[in-house]
Structure formats: C-alpha cells, structure tokens
Amino acid sequence: MPKIRAGRGASVSREPVPGQEIGSLAGQAITGHELCTLGFRSWGSSYREKRLLRRILIVDDEQAVLATLRDFFTELKLEVDCASGFDEALSKLSRNKYAAVLADIQLSRIGDTDGLDLADFVAERWPETPLIVLTAYGSHRVEREARSRGAKFFLHKPVRLEDIGQIVVGLL
C-alpha cells in the first residue's frame, strides 16, 4: 500500500466506535461504524469538523473505476461528479467548484490528450483546486512530471479506497 501523508485535519483525538455517531456532514449523521468497517480508524475526528457538503470531480476513462470511486465517495457523504475524458472534465470544471479533482493521467485512449494536460489546465485556471493524480503507469519520471505540473498527490494503481479517501478528506 502506498505511503500516505495525511492532510490538514486528518489527525485524530479518539477512535470512532462502531455504531456511535461521531458527527455530521451536510446534515447527515456519520457513525463510527461506517468509518470502522472501511478501516478508517485513524482519522475519524476529521469528519466531525466537516459542516458543509463538498463536491469532488473524478476523471477516469475506465467506467468500472469511475463507478467504484463514485460509490465510495458517495458513502462518505460527498457529492461526486464523474468525467470519462479530458473535454468532459474541463466542461464540469468550468461549471462547478470542486474541493478536489482525482484524475487518471492515462486518458489518451478516449481523447487526444492526457491527464497531465488536465493538470496544466487545473493549475492555470483553478489553482485553488487540489489535483490528485492516479496512474497505472507509475514511473518516477511520470510522477516528477505530474508534480511539476501541479499535482498535489500522486498515487499508483491499484490503490486502496481508504487511502484515497484519507487524502481527499484531508483536503476538505
């Protein structure tokens, strides 16, 4: 599993207890049970601090990955938009404000560009929006390139959902 650096607010003061409500997000209760069953034992308190619904954008050309990530983040009470290509992602970015963008950098099979170009656009037009890059081509060269083009985090697929979740919640 990848080494994860916790974001702001991701530290904990106590562990969530199964079945016990630990706070609310967008008016909906979140229980320690929900966090524990996904293995989120070390960062439950960050949820207590969330008061507003946050929306994220996921960009991936693999529909099954999109469906899985959408389901996961919806379980975490986040609002999720999905895009399966570069143009769709830009269109959604232009119309909505996102707390974070998760993008697979290998989008070239659908569009004529890739996620690194998306990183350039996000850095230039929405510099306040953190970009998390996912890739199944995990070379150090690609990671350096992504980071130099504004990616805040770089994750190698396959990555556990709880690890992506920890990063995203840390950014909210």
Partner: protein
Amino acid sequence: MKDLAEDSATAERRRIAHDLSNQIMVVQGNLDLLRMKLEREERPWGNLELASDAVERCRVLTERLSALCRETP
C-alpha cells in the same frame, strides 16, 4: 525487425499491466464496499457485479499475457 517486435511486445505488456491494475482496484474496492454494505444488511448486488466483471477481465488479460510470453522469447 526484431527490435520492432520487441517494442510492440513491451507496449502490449505495459497495456496489460495498466488494465490489470485498474481491474484489481475495482475488485478490491468493491469488496471493501460489499463488506461495509453487508454489515448494514444492504443487498449490494451492484458491487458484486462490478467485482465479478473485473475478475473476468483479469482472466482475459492474463490469457493475453500468457500468449504474449509464448510468442516472444
């Protein structure tokens, strides 16, 4: 000619590795979601289907990889 064939085989292996990584993530992710929803006594057929389809795609990908290994020295 031999170099071209090797480049092509390398590119194909890379594509397979990429696709396998995606499918493994789908299987693992949906198993996590299944566990969580089953504990809430839900009926997460969608997650089961996604995981099952991904395993089937893994099977096809490993067949492609095996064929590639047989073809290239």
